[in-house]
C-alpha cells in the first residue's frame, strides 16, 4: 500500500535580506485569563440585570448588557424581549456598543410585529448617522439600515443607497453597492431604480467599489449587458488590483459577458473535443466497427480542419505528454490573431491571476479560459499547472478542485496528463478525494500511460476500504473500455481477482464489471471462453442446488469455500448465459457455455422461488431466450415452469413480465377468446426481439460531455451538486455573428462628458487625476492630509459625478491606440534598461494600482509621477485607480513618461523630506531621482 511521508527542512533565504528565525507570535494566547467573556455564555442570565445594564448611562455597562444578549443569540435562545431596551441605545456614541446594538437590531428587526414597529424608531438615528462626517459611521449606518428587513422603509433605504452611491468615500460607496441586492431581495419591483444605481457604480473608478458593483450586477440584473459594456475594459485593466473576492465575481460575470459579446475563438476544436469525450466514453461499445469510428473522431479532433480528414490520419495516436496541447488548434498566433482585441484583453489580463493565493480566483481564471479561451498550448499548460498546484490545499478546496479537474479531464485530458502522478492516491486522502482521483485517473488514460495507471490501480485493489476497492474495479473496467489495447490485461487481472477475492461485495463488483466488458465487446476473444466458464462456475457454486454443488466441490477441492454471490453478480452471470449460451450466438468461443446453458437453467429453475427479484428476472429472461432459441427441445418444459412460477410471484413487475413473455412464446394462460393469429405472429418475431444484436451499454467517464446530461459550468455550486440551483446561470452559447464591438468604445459619452468635466479637459493625464481624486477629496479630509476641506455631501456628489464623466472621456482618448501600444511598450520596456528605469518604476506602480492620490493643488500640472512623489507624505491614498491610468500606463512607458517626470523634480524635495528614510517606497527608479 502507499504511504505518504512529510518532512520539512529549513533552507537559507536566497535573497539579500538577513535571515533570522521567526519569533513566536502567539503571545496573546497565554493570558486571556483576565476578564474572559466565557461567563456570559456559561452562566444563566438575569433579565432584570440585563435591562439595568442596557439602561445604564455608562457605555461599558451597556456593553455588558449587550454581551449578555449576544451570548443568548449564540446559544440559540430568543432574546427579542429586550428589543425595546436595545433600540433606545442606537443613539449611543461609543462604537463598540453601537456595533453590538446594530448586530442585535439586524437579527431581530423582522422577528415579530412589535419588533418591526420598534425598529422603525431607529430609522431617524440611522439617517442622522448617514450624514456623519466619519465614513465608518456612515457606512455602518447604511449597512445596518439596509439589512433591516421591514418593508415599510424600503423607500427610505433606497434613498439612502442612492445617496451613499455618491458618497466621497469609496468604502461607503462599496457598502452602497452591497446594499443593492438587499433591497432587491426584499422588493424586486424596485429593480429599475436599483439598476440605475448599479450602472452608476459600475462607472466608479475605485477598485474597492467595482467588485461590489459587479456582484450587485450579478444578483440584480445579470443579463443587462448594455450597462456592462462601458465598464468592461476598465474591469479588465483593474482585474489584478481589485480584492480577491471581487476577482472571483468579476471573472464569473465576464465569462458570461464574453460568451454573449464575442464569437467562439475556436469553434471546431470545442465541438471536436466534446465529440471525442463522448466517443471515449462509448469506446468499445460496438467492438470492432466502433473502434474504427472512434479513431475517426479522434482524427477530426487533432486536425484543425476537422471533418473530412478521417481516412488519412487513421493511425494517429493520442498525444504523448511531450506533445501535450499540440492537440489543440495549431499555434496560438493564428488563433489569437482572429480574436477581438477586447476578448484578448480579458484573457491576457486574467492570466497572471493564476498566481493568486486564493484558489477561488485560480479556478475562476481556469473556467474563463476553459470556456472562452483559445485553447492554446501555453495557456493549457499554465492552467493545468495552476489547478494541480491549488490541489495541494485544505481538503475542502481539494474536493472542489478535484471535481472541476475531473470534469475538465473528461473533455481535455491533455491539460492534466503531464501531472498524472499528482493524482495518485495518498494514504491520507479522505474518501471523497480518493473516488474523485480515480475518476481523474481513468479520464487521463492514454496509450502512453495506461501501464502506469494500471499498476497504480493494482495497488489500490489491496486497500482496506471495500468501497474504494470496488470503485477501483470499476475504474479498471473503464480503462479497459477506453483502451482496447490493454483490455486483455485488465480482464485477466479481473479474472485473477475473481479467483482469489474473499470479499463478497468486491467479487460482486468484479463480476458486474466483467459482464459489462464482455457485453461491450471489450473482452478479448482469447479470454472469453475461460472468463465465461469461470463466471458460470461461480454461479453454480453459489447456488444451493446440492447435487451440482457436490460435483463442483470435487473440482474445487482444497479451496476455501467462496462466499455466495450477491444478487447483482448472480443476475449478471445468468444474463451472460442467456446471451452467449443460446445456439444462435455468433460470438466465437462460446461452445462450452452453449453446452451447459440448459443445465444452468435447470439448476436455477429449481431455486427460483428462493432467489431475490433481480435474479428471478434474469432467470425468466434466460428461460425465454433458451425457449425461443431451442423450440421443442427439453428446454420447453423448463421455460414453461419458470413462466408459471413468475406468473404467481409476489412481485407485480415479475408477474407482468411473465405475461409479456408468455405471449411472446405464443402461449396463453387465458381462457376464452384469444387472438391466436396475433400470438403466432408474435411468436415468429420472438427470436428477433430476444436474440437480436443489442446495443452495448455506454460507460460514462464523467458527468458532462455526454449528450443528454447537464453541462453545468465548472466551479459552480450547481456542478458540485449535479443539479441546477436557484440563480444558476448557464453559459450562453456563442453568438454566430460577432455583435457590434463598438459598444465598448465610449465615443458617444465623450461628447456629453467633456462638458461636465470643465477645466480638466486639456490634458489627458490630469483627467485621470481628477477621476482618481474625485472620491479622494472627501476622504482625505477625514484622514491624515492637512488639507482642510470639509467634504460636504453636495460637494462630493458633484465630485464623483464629474469623476465618472472625466473617466470615460479619458478612456475614449486612449482607446484607439490602447491595444497596440500596450503590448509594444511592454516589450520595449523589458528590452531597455537604464534609460527606461524611471518609466519602469512608474509602470510598476500602475500595475499595482498604487495610484497614490495627491492633494488638490497638484491637480493642474499634475502628472502621475507627481502624485507618486507625493505619496509617501500621506500614504492614505485610496484604492481608486483612475480609469485611464492603466490604459495610459503602457503608453506612458514610452514618450509620455518624459513629461511627467519633468514635473516631478519640483515636487520631489518636499516629498522626500517628509518621508525621511521611507523613500524606499518609490522603488529603484524614483529613489534614484530623488538623489
Amino acid at each position: 500500500m502507499t504511504t505518504s511521508m512529510t518532512s520539512s527542512m529549513v533552507a537559507a533565504l536566497p535573497s539579500s535580506m538577513t535571515t533570522v528565525t521567526m519569533s513566536s507570535m502567539s503571545k496573546q494566547a497565554a493570558g486571556t485569563v483576565v476578564q474572559s467573556e466565557a461567563h456570559f455564555l456559561e452562566e444563566t442570565m438575569n433579565p432584570g440585570r440585563v435591562r439595568q445594564y442596557l439602561n445604564n448611562s455608562k457605555d461599558y455597562e451597556k456593553a455588558k448588557g449587550m454581551k449578555w444578549l449576544l451570548a443568548m443569540m449564540s446559544k440559540g435562545r430568543d432574546a427579542s424581549e429586550f428589543f425595546s431596551d436595545v433600540v433606545k441605545n442606537v443613539v449611543v456614541k461609543g462604537v463598540e456598543v453601537k456595533k453590538m446594538v446594530y448586530m442585535y437590531l439586524v437579527h431581530y428587526a423582522d422577528f415579530n410585529a412589535s419588533c418591526r414597529e420598534l425598529a422603525l424608531l431607529s430609522i431617524n438615528s440611522f439617517q442622522k448617522d448617514l450624514a456623519a462626517s466619519n465614513q465608518l459611521v456612515r457606512a455602518m449606518a447604511l449597512r445596518v439600515m439596509s439589512s433591516i428587513r421591514v418593508p415599510e422603509i424600503i423607500q427610505i433605504q433606497l434613498l439612502a443607497v442612492k445617496k451613499c452611491a455618491n458618497d466621497s468615500s469609496p468604502y461607503v460607496r462599496k457598502c452602497a453597492a452591497n446594499a443593492i441586492p438587499k433591497i432587491y431581495k426584499m422588493s424586486p419591483d424596485q429593480k429599475e431604480p436599483l439598476e440605475q444605481i448599479v450602472e452608476k457604480l459600475l462607472r466608479d473608478s475605485s477598485c474597492m467599489v467595482l467588485g461590489s458593483a459587479v456582484a450587485a450586477f450579478a444578483e440584480v440584473c445579470p443579463d443587462k449587458w448594455d450597462i456592462m459594456h462601458r465598464a468592461y475594459r476598465k474591469l479588465c485593466h483593474l482585474l489584478a488590483d481589485v480584492d480577491e473576492w471581487a476577482q472571483i465575481t468579476i471573472l464569473s460575470v465576464l465569462t458570461r459577458y464574453l460568451r454573449t459579446q464575442f464569437v467562439d475563438p475556436a469553434p471546431a476544436v470545442r465541438d471536436a473535443l466534446k465529440a471525442q469525450a463522448q466517443q471515449r466514453s462509448a469506446a468499445g461499445a460496438q467492438a470492432a466497427p466502433k473502434k474504427v469510428k472512434r479513431r475517426i473522431v479522434k482524427k477530426a479532433f487533432y486536425s484543425d480542419e476537422e471533418d473530412e480528414s478521417q481516412e488519412e490520419e487513421f493511425e494517429v495516436k493520442l498525444p504523448t505528454s511531450a506533445e501535450v496541447g499540440s492537440v489543440f488548434t495549431g499555434g496560438d498566433q493564428e488563433t489569437e490573431g482572429d480574436l477581438d482585441p477586447d476578448h484578448r484583453l480579458l484573457l491576457r489580463s486574467s492570466l497572471p491571476l493564476l498566481k493568486s493565493r486564493n484558489s477561488g480566483v485560480v479556478l475562476a481564471v481556469c473556467s474563463l479560459h476553459y470556456y472562452c479561451g483559445t485553447n492554446s498550448n501555453s495557456t493549457g499548460t499554465a492552467l493545468g499547472k495552476a489547478l494541480v498546484r491549488i490541489l495541494r490545499n485544505a481538503r475542502e478546496i481539494q474536493y472542489v478542485v478535484l471535481q472541476a479537474i475531473a470534469t475538465m479531464a473528461t473533455e481535455r485530458p491533455q491539460l492534466f496528463i503531464p501531472f498524472l502522478a499528482d493524482f495518485y492516491i495518498k494514504a491520507t486522502d479522505p474518501q471523497f478525494a480518493r473516488s474523485l482521483k480515480l475518476q481523474v485517473l481513468t479520464a487521463l488514460t492514454v496509450d502512453d500511460n495506461v501501464d502506469m495507471i494500471l499498476r497504480e490501480l493494482q495497488t489500490y485493489i489491496s486497500h482496506g476500504d471495500k468501497d474504494f476497492v470496488r470503485d477501483t474495479v470499476r475504474a479498471v473496467g473503464r480503462v479497459a473500455d477506453a483502451q482496447p489495447d490493454v483490455a486483455e490485461k485488465c480482464v485477466s487481472g479481473l479474472v485473477a481477482l475473481l479467483q482469489c477475492s474473499t470479499i463478497d461485495s468486491v467479487t460482486d463488483t468484479v463480476v458486474v464489471v466483467t459482464r459489462q466488458l464482455i457485453q461491450q465487446g471489450a473482452c478479448p476473444e482469447s479470454l472469453l471462453p475461460q472468463t465465461l466458464r469461470l463466471l458460470v462456475l461461480l454461479l453454480l457454486e453459489s447456488t444451493s442446488a446440492s447435487d451440482l454443488q457436490a460435483e463442483e466441490d470435487e473440482d474445487a477441492e482444497g479451496k476455501k469455500p467462496r462466499p455466495p454471490l450477491l444478487p447483482s453478480a448472480k443476475a449478471s452471470c445468468i444474463w451472460l448465459v442467456g446471451e452467449y449460451g443460446v445456439p444462435t450466438c455468433a460470438v466465437p468461443g462460446c461452445d462450452k457455455i452453449k453446452a451447459v446453458a440448459g443445465d444452468v437453467l435447470r439448476v436455477m429453475a429449481q431455486t427460483f422461488t428462493e432467489e431475490p427479484l433481480e435474479v428471478k428476472i434474469q432467470i425468466l429472461n434466460l428461460a425465454v431466450k433458451l425457449g425461443v432459441a431451442r423450440p421443442g427441445s427439453e428446454i420447453t418444459p423448463l421455460t414453461n415452469l419458470v413462466l408459471e412460477l413468475s406468473r404467481y410471484d409476489l412481485d407485480y413487475d415479475l408477474r407482468d413480465r411473465s405475461r409479456f413473455a408468455t405471449a411472446l412464446m405464443g402461449l396463453t394462460s387465458e381462457d376464452g377468446a384469444v387472438d391466436n393469429a396475433a400470438l403466432q405472429s408474435l411468436r415468429q418475431k420472438a427470436s428477433g426481439v430476444m436474440l437480436g444484436v443489442k446495443m452495448p451499454p455506454l460507460t460514462l467517464l464523467g458527468d458532462v460531455a455526454v449528450e443528454g446530461l447537464n453541462d453545468l459550468t465548472i466551479g459552480s455550486l450547481s456542478s458540485m451538486m449535479h443539479h441546477e440551483l436557484n440563480g444558476y446561470l448557464s453559459l450562453p452559447t456563442w453568438p454566430d455573428i460577432q455583435p457590434d464591438p463598438a459598444v465598448r468604445d465610449t465615443n458617444m459619452e465623450k461628447k456629453e462628458g467633456v462638458v461636465g468635466v470643465g477645466g480638466t479637459g486639456s490634458d489627458s493625464d490630469s483627467d485621470s487625476d481628477a477621476s482618481g481624486k474625485g472620491g479622494a477629496d472627501g476622504f482625505y479630509d477625514d484622514g491624515s492630509d492637512s488639507d482642510s476641506d470639509s467634504g460636504s455631501d453636495s460637494d462630493s456628489d458633484s465630485d464623483s459625478d464629474s469623476d465618472s464623466d472625466s473617466g470615460s472621456d479619458e478612456d475614449s482618448d486612449e482607446d484607439s491606440s490602447e491595444e497596440e501600444s500596450d503590448e509594444e511598450s511592454d516589450e520595449s520596456d523589458s528590452g531597455e534598461e537604464e534609460s527606461d528605469e524611471d518609466s519602469d518604476a512608474e509602470e510598476e506602480y500602475n500595475e499595482e494600482s498604487s495610484e497614490y492620490s495627491s492633494s488638490d493643488e497638484e491637480d493642474d500640472g499634475a502628472s502621475k509621477a507627481a502624485k507618486m512623489a507625493a505619496a509617501p507624505t500621506s500614504f492614505s491614498g485610496f484604492g481608486s485607480y483612475g480609469m485611464n491610468s492603466m490604459g495610459s500606463a503602457a503608453p506612458g512607458a514610452g514618450a509620455a513618461s518624459i513629461d511627467p517626470f519633468g514635473g516631478m523634480d519640483s515636487l520631489l524635495p518636499p516629498a522626500t523630506g517628509a518621508t525621511g528614510g521611507m523613500g524606499g517606497a518609490m522603488g529603484g527608479g524614483l529613489g534614484d531621482a530623488s538623489e
Partner: protein
Amino acid sequence: PEGLSQVEFRSGQTMIQSIFMMSRTGEVLIEKHWRGITPRSVCDVFWDEANRYAAKEDAPPIIYTSKYYLISVFRDDVFLIASVTAEVPPLLVIEFLHRIIDIYTEYFGSVEEQNIKDNFSTCYQLLEEMMDNGYPLTTEPNALKAMIKPPSVMGRVHSYATGKSGISDDLAEGMVSSMPWRKAGVKYAQNEIYMDIIEEVDAIVDRNGQMVSSEVTGMVQANSRLSGIPDLTMTFIDPDVIDDCSFHPCVRYNRFERDRVVSFVPPDGAFELMRYRVNTKANVSAPIYCQSQVMFNDSQNTGYGRISITVGQKPTSSLIMPSKGTMAIEEVALTIPFPKAVRTTNLTVNVGTCLYDEATKVAKWTIG
C-alpha cells in the same frame, strides 16, 4: 426554452446567508446571519451527516438539505458551516471560511472552543466587519486589526479600568488605500523582516520501497517589522527551481512574470508571502526510508500475524545547496493503520515510543 418574462425576473448568484461555528462536540458556538435567518436545525442535519463517517473530516464539505446547501470547513477542531440557498462560487465560500479561521487564529492564538468563548463578542465584531450582505468585506488582517484590536491582557485591564473598548471608531486609513493589506503609519525603532522557508516533500512509496511519485512544495513565511511603506525585492539565486507559485496579493505578479523577482510592499506583521512547487526533474528521494515486512501465517488458524518495520536515514542533499554535511533529521513519526479486523496488537520498538489507538486501529510510532 425561456420566455421573455422569465428572463426578466432572472436573478443571478447570491452569497452566504448564515455562518455557524460548531465545536467538535457539536455545540454551536457562533451564529451570524446576513440574508435572513437560517434556522439552527440545519446544524443538526449537518451534525447527523458528519456523524455518519468514521472520521468527521471524511464528510463531504458540501451537503444538500431540503432548502439549504451547507458548505463546511473543518479545521483545528472546529467546524465552520456556511448556509447558502442559491448558486455561489463554492471556492469563494470555502476560502472565506478558512480566512475566518485564519483571522481568529491570529487574534486569539487558536480557534479552540475556550478561546472562542472567551472572546465571543470580538468574534462577532470580526464577522460583522468581514462580511456584508454575505459578501466578503474586509478580510485583510492589517485592516481588521486597525478597526478591532486583538485582545491582550493589557487591553483587558485597560478596558476594565477605563471602560474603553478595543474597537476603533474610525476607519483604518490603510483600508481604503491602494494597499488594503498594509496599515498606515507603522513605526518601528528597529526595522527588520524575518523570513522562514518551509519545504515539504510529499512522496508515495510502493511496498518495495520504490518511489512512485514525489513532489516538493514550499512556502515563504515572513514577519515584517518595517516602518513606513517599505518596498522590498526578493531575488532568487536560481529562479528555475520554482516550477509554479502563488503569491500574497501584495506581490506584483507582472514583475515576477517578467523578471522572476518578487517585488512587494509587505503587510505589517506575520504573513505568508508565497507558496511554490519545486521543479523536480527526477523524483526527490525522501530523507528517510521505511521498509515493512508483513508475515501472516494462518495455517493453524491462530489468527496471529507479525509485521516488522525498519526506518532509517538516507543520505540526501538539499535541493538548493550541495551537500555540506548531512541533514539532521528530527521529529520522525510513523503512522501505521491496521485493518479493522485486527483485535489487538503487541508493539515493541527499540527507539522512541509507540502508541496504539484501539478505537481507530492506528499505531503511531514517534521516533524523535
